[in-house]
């Protein structure tokens, strides 16, 4: 497990390198240190032997053996000297600091004689280095350094009274001084121990630092990536890495997130297709069977409705039957629309015109909900090849959704403050005055779901007559010059690409938070998208934003913005945020239509801020 860890491997590699480097360095260091220590000892020994030689020279000339003995013994008693010996030519120890040695014969092959006697004829002159030797006499004794100092024949020797040496002799004997290397060896060992301690502490600190750095910069992000990959492989495509880095791993994490996004999108699309296909088959069958009986119920009940004018109670009941049947029919119709997935009858069309027509269709509904529609359309949009009716249906669906999202709390307001300047209290008035109204409204209440919607619409309509709404449907074309700088900033616009930009980010003048906002513009193609798109921005966030600003608390309003958990199911059939009021088919149908146009429809939503639907339609469809 540890061996498979990239951090461990890296740390191990670094530590190994450092270990080798320090080892080599320490080795050379100790080598040179011991060399210099030894040469110091050597010099000391040579000086000593010279001193002994000159000290005993006079006595030797006088052949005063007792005195020579005495001085050698005295000198040899010093701690720093192992022993001092003088050999004569034949190898007999004549003097020694150790009494027992005297008179012993030394073989010419022993360590002290070997230097000169190794080559058949004994050498007479030796260099300094060759005169010294290091040896260990026994297994437990310390190392010794021995230095031999030849005693050459001198005229005074053969002219002396004793006449002990003939003139022909060159070397009369050898002075051998041995010095224990205990001190030197201890020093070397200390250096070795110091080097080892240094190496280990460096390794420890280095591996700690490298390990931490590797863990922090490499190991952790890699582990996170690994966990993310496993999680994604396990099917959790919502997994996101939090990226706080700007290095390669950060980029990797970013592109990982990007990839998962794409994957999630692709899966959603695939899932949608599957779901659409199977649901389509089922729905078509069921809807067909239900459709005819529903029509019969409707024809009979509406006939009865017409005949029941005189009896108000029956008339009212019949009205409920009719309206509920109509609702059923509408659901069935949507289901069939969705299931049938008609092949679009594509023709060249102007998107802005389609948007305008869609807006016109829902004009009344918007006015009823007092939702203002602000349109900012790029007049330079290229024409697209689409089924105008189907695309119009998409826009109507999106706009109705948006209006519903805004309209809900408006309706609630109306219900609670009948007659008290209801229109003026709403929307901008709330925002102007701020706190009290905003705080009082709180969570927009959903009208009683058990009642059909028109029960709410009716008093509203009445109130509208009494107090004309402050906002009204307003459709305006954006002036051309507004887009010119924008386009320059965003780069060269590719002709034939569409975008309805988000009003929230590029605030339009006079757009209030409760307004429905629509924009079309040329969009630069992005990677992975069919060329370009159309953006439809939906804002229903006014009160929420205000509340958040005023109270500083999180916004709990689910009327504006869609909770993240619902977004993946948004385009699924029968997914609705409107409760029983919605069939949950509008977005599914829209999705099907856009899909049939080889386009894409996506949603960006933030609870408390608002929702933006982006419709992208390829230009060469």
């Amino acid at each position: 497990m540890l061996g498979r860890n990239i951090g461990f491997k890296l740390t191990f590699g670094v530590v190994l390198t450092v270990l080798v480097t320090i080892g080599i360095f320490a080795w050379f260091n100790i080598q040179s240190q011991s060399r210099s220590l030894l040469s110091e000892v050597e010099r000391h020994a040579s000086q000593l032997s010279e001193a002994v030689k000159s000290d005993t020279e006079y006595d030797m000339l006088r052949n005063d053996r007792e005195r020579i003995h005495e001085s050698i013994r005295r000198i040899g008693q010093q701690d720093s000297i192992d022993r001092i010996r003088v050999f004569n030519k034949t190898g007999e120890i004549i003097y020694s600091s150790e009494e027992t040695d005297i008179g012993r014969m030394v073989d010419t092959q022993t360590e002290s004689c070997y230097r000169c006697h190794s080559a058949g004829e004994p050498l007479e002159h030796l260099e300094m280095q060759e005169r010294t030797r290091i040896f260990t006499p026994g297994p437990d004794s310390p190392r010794l350094l021995g230095i031999i100092n030849p005693i050459y024949n001198a005229p005074s020797c053969w002219t002396a009274d004793c006449h002990a040496h003939p003139e022909t002799q060159t070397v009369l004997g050898v002075l051998d001084v041995t010095i224990p290397l205990t001190e030197v060896d201890r020093n070397i060992r200390h250096s070795q121990i110091a080097a080892i301690i240094l190496a280990f502490s460096v390794i420890l600190i280095l591996s700690l630092i490298v390990g931490l750095m590797v863990r922090w910069w490499i190991d952790r992000p890699v582990q996170e990536l690994l966990a993310a990959t496993r999680s994604v492989a396990g099917g959790n495509l919502a997994y996101r890495l939090t990226v706080k880095r700007d290095d390669e791993l950060g980029m990797l994490a970013n592109s990982f997130n990007n990839m998962t996004d794409k994957l999630a999108q692709a899966r959603l699309q695939l899932f949608q297709s599957d779901k659409l296909a199977s649901l389509g088959r089922l729905a078509a069958g069921v809807a067909h069977e239900i459709n005819n009986p529903l029509t019969a119920v409707l024809t009979y009940s509406s006939y009865l409705l017409k005949r029941s004018q005189g009896r108000p109670e029956t008339h009212k009941d019949l009205q409920v039957i009719v309206s509920e049947t109509i609702r059923c029919r509408e659901i069935v119709k949507n289901l069939l629309d969705f299931a049938r997935q008609t092949v679009p009858k594509k023709r060249k069309a102007d998107i802005n015109e389609i948007v305008g027509r869609a807006a016109k269709v829902i004009e009344n509904q918007l006015a009823l909900g007092r939702v203002q529609l602000v349109m900012d359309l790029d007049p330079a949009l290229p024409s697209v090849t689409v089924d105008a009716n189907q695309i119009q249906q998409v826009f109507i669906n999106l706009m109705v959704n948006a209006a519903d999202a805004i309209g809900d709390d408006e309706g609630h307001h109306q219900g609670h403050e009948p007659g008290d300047q209801p229109a003026a209290r709403r929307g901008s008035a709330d925002q102007d005055r701020g706190v009290p109204q905003a705080a009082r409204t709180g969570r927009p209440q959903v009208p009683d779901r058990r009642q059909p919607r028109h029960h709410h619409a009716l008093p509203q309509a009445g109130a509208k007559r009494a107090h004309p709404p402050r906002s009204h449907v307003r459709i305006e074309r954006a002036p051309v010059e507004r887009h010119a700088p924008a386009r320059g900033r965003r780069g060269t616009a590719v002709p034939g690409v569409l975008d309805l930009a988000d009003c929230r980010r590029r605030a339009l003048p006079e757009v209030r938070r409760s307004d429905l906002c629509l924009r079309s513009a040329v969009e630069r193609p992005r990677a992975g998208l069919p060329a370009g798109g159309l953006r439809l921005a939906q804002l229903g966030a006014g009160r929420c934003q205000l509340e958040r600003r005023v109270r500083g608390g999180p916004c709990e309003d689910d009327g504006c913005g869609i909770p993240k958990s619902q977004i993946p199911h948004l385009f699924e059939p029968f997914a609705t945020t409107k409760g029983p009021k919605g069939t949950g088919l509008g977005l599914a149908v829209s999705w099907g239509i856009i899909d049939n146009h080889n386009g894409k429809i996506s949603v960006e939503s933030e609870v408390g801020v608002g929702t933006t639907f982006v419709v992208r339609i390829p230009v060469q469809a």
Binding site: N291, A296, T299, Y300, Y303, L368, V400, R453, H454, A457
Partner: protein, 233 residues
């Protein structure tokens, strides 16, 4: 109510852009754009305007083609003033009903101005319907919109069994309570196998249930293939 005349389809389109009209009466044979091109142009520019087609060159094909192209009704020349008035009145009411249905749907109001044909029915314009049956026969009836636009029916005059019906030619005449007579264009050609006696004896049955029990004829279609191209689902 004012009437404005235009010399050509182009002129009419210009006028339409300037002001609103409730109904257009349009010839098929015209200089420049013909009647069908005019309808197409309206459709393309998104102008919602009910159009009644009229022509002296009255072929069956012209009639059904007009309805398929989006005309609300069709009247062959020559016609009497009464006939024209009947058609115009019916067309105005039809378009009002269609508008009401549109707005009701958008406002999700639970009311309904007329009941549209069931999904699998073949429709000739918004006048009549045909339903293919498993035995190769077809049922023929009149749409609820037509009935509502005619403001109720006092009496149906139907053909006898064995007669041949032709698509686009009136196959029944409905008389409103006010006495105006409305020709119901046949959606499909064929020989009459059976006449719905209930509908004839009790016209309110047709009003009550125009798509099921209120059928008018059972026919043996003579040329369903070519008939189908003018019918819409």
């Amino acid at each position: 109510m004012t009437v404005v005349a235009a010399d050509s389809a182009a002129e009419a389109l210009r006028l339409l852009k300037e002001s609103r009209f409730r109904l257009a009466l349009c010839d098929i044979m015209m200089q420049g754009l013909d009647g069908f091109q005019f309808l197409e142009e309206l459709n393309r520019s998104g102008i919602q305007l009910p159009v009644v087609m009229m022509t002296g060159y009255s072929t069956v094909e012209n009639a059904v083609r007009s309805l398929a192209a989006g005309a609300i009704d069709y009247i062959p020349k020559p016609f009497t003033a009464d006939e024209l008035l009947t058609v115009v009145r019916r067309a105005l009411r039809s378009s009002a009903l269609l508008d009401a249905a549109d707005s009701a749907r958008l406002e999700r109001a639970g009311s309904m101005s007329f009941v549209p044909c069931p999904d699998n029915y073949l429709k000739l314009g918004c006048v009549s319907w045909a339903l293919m049956e498993d035995e190769g026969t077809a049922r023929v009836g009149v749409s609820d919109l037509f009935l509502k636009a005619a403001e109720g029916i006092r009496e149906f005059e139907l053909e006898e069994p064995g007669e041949d019906l032709v698509q686009g030619i009136p196959c029944a005449v409905a008389t409103s309570p006010d006495g105006s007579r409305h020709g119901i264009m046949c959606p499909m050609s064929g020989k009459v196998l059976e006449v719905n006696a209930d509908a004839q004896s009790n016209p309110s049955l047709v009003e009550k249930d125009p798509y099921f029990k209120g059928w008018l004829y059972r026919i043996l279609p003579s040329d369903p293939e070519s008939n189908l191209q003018w019918l819409s689902l």
